[in-house]
Subunit: 191 residues, 2 copies
Amino acid sequence: MLQGLFDHIRRFVPLSGEEEQVLVQYIEIRDVKKKAFLLKEGQVCQGNYFILSGCCRAYFETERDGEQIYHFAIENWWITDYMSLESRKPSACNIQAVEHTSYAVLYRDVQDELFAAVPQLEKYFRIILEKALAAAQLRIKYIFTQTAEQRYHHFSGLFPDFVQRVPQYMLASYLGVSPEFISKIRAKKKV
Amino acid sequence: MLQGLFDHIRRFVPLSGEEEQVLVQYIEIRDVKKKAFLLKEGQVCQGNYFILSGCCRAYFETERDGEQIYHFAIENWWITDYMSLESRKPSACNIQAVEHTSYAVLYRDVQDELFAAVPQLEKYFRIILEKALAAAQLRIKYIFTQTAEQRYHHFSGLFPDFVQRVPQYMLASYLGVSPEFISKIRAKKKV
DNA sequence: CGCGACGTTGATTTGCCTCAACGATTGTGG
DNA sequence: CCACAATCGTTGAGGCAAATCAACGTCGCG
């Protein structure tokens, strides 16, 4: 069940069988169906979510009934609102299942205890945060230096399966493009 | 000399006097003048830089002789290329002093040893990385939902001193705007 | 003093959004 | 199981925010 999580951790730090067992005690597994919310705007974010299967999105509601998606997570990705999680203030964003999703939760209020018991996990999170930050900085570079069309092709080149998996309007939001424009790009591409 | 760093760490984790002394052993202090490079494209990034005084910028060179700044750091900010630092591959970006700058370096290859000696520091970095990632995600939101003019006013509202401190064309690059357009926004504002 | 770096201002261009109307699917209640 | 409504994607017309281009002003520095 949690094998995907253990494997992911072992890609970055060593983890013994006993440590695995300690970790299990601090983790809760949950299942939600499509369109359910893991976190709703206004709630204080309680934990860090690791997707075991399915797909979730994190987004802000914008004035004028819009949505701005800033992060997707599929199998073996973490997703949360670090702002709310760390400050313990109400969240400004939503995390929602895009498909039927199964995920593991690591709750904020037991996290320090877990890290004290298995220090390697603190290192693990530091490392994946470094990677996530590097990716976010790279994303900002691409947003500013590429056109909408280049961004679309770049992203679908990197994640060809993923672009088929989510509705086009969500992809559009994530890429900062109008859904109509994605439609036009795709039409253009047909030789 | 390193008081700024100690204070910064204590904002997030406890740090004893002895731990301070251990940390000092792993830190190197350096001075560079304006326009000097802390990291040049193609080099492998060797460490994490904490600005003691002065100001640095991190940027990518873009095709067609352009520059895309993705991060600034002034006093009490960290700056590095996490991508290169973690992968140990040549960097795709540059880190350069915008002013005469004094900074502390924590080298990659002693970092694990330091964290083993003072585990609180691993936690400290995890926490500031969470904050940095949250800030980067928020920045992406603003890039997509605000106009260039709104972004300029938003940023200069948050950092009124900073916008006076760096050349306008660097600010423009960071905000993803043309320098000419910033000029026009400023002209408009004079009542 | 003269050159180069930086900022300003106006004219022109363009990438992409907005709006609107129309197909295609999906799903839901009668 | 079908009808009908949402929801989602497509296509085209028109508009606008901001880039680009170009020319000129100004400051600091070798």
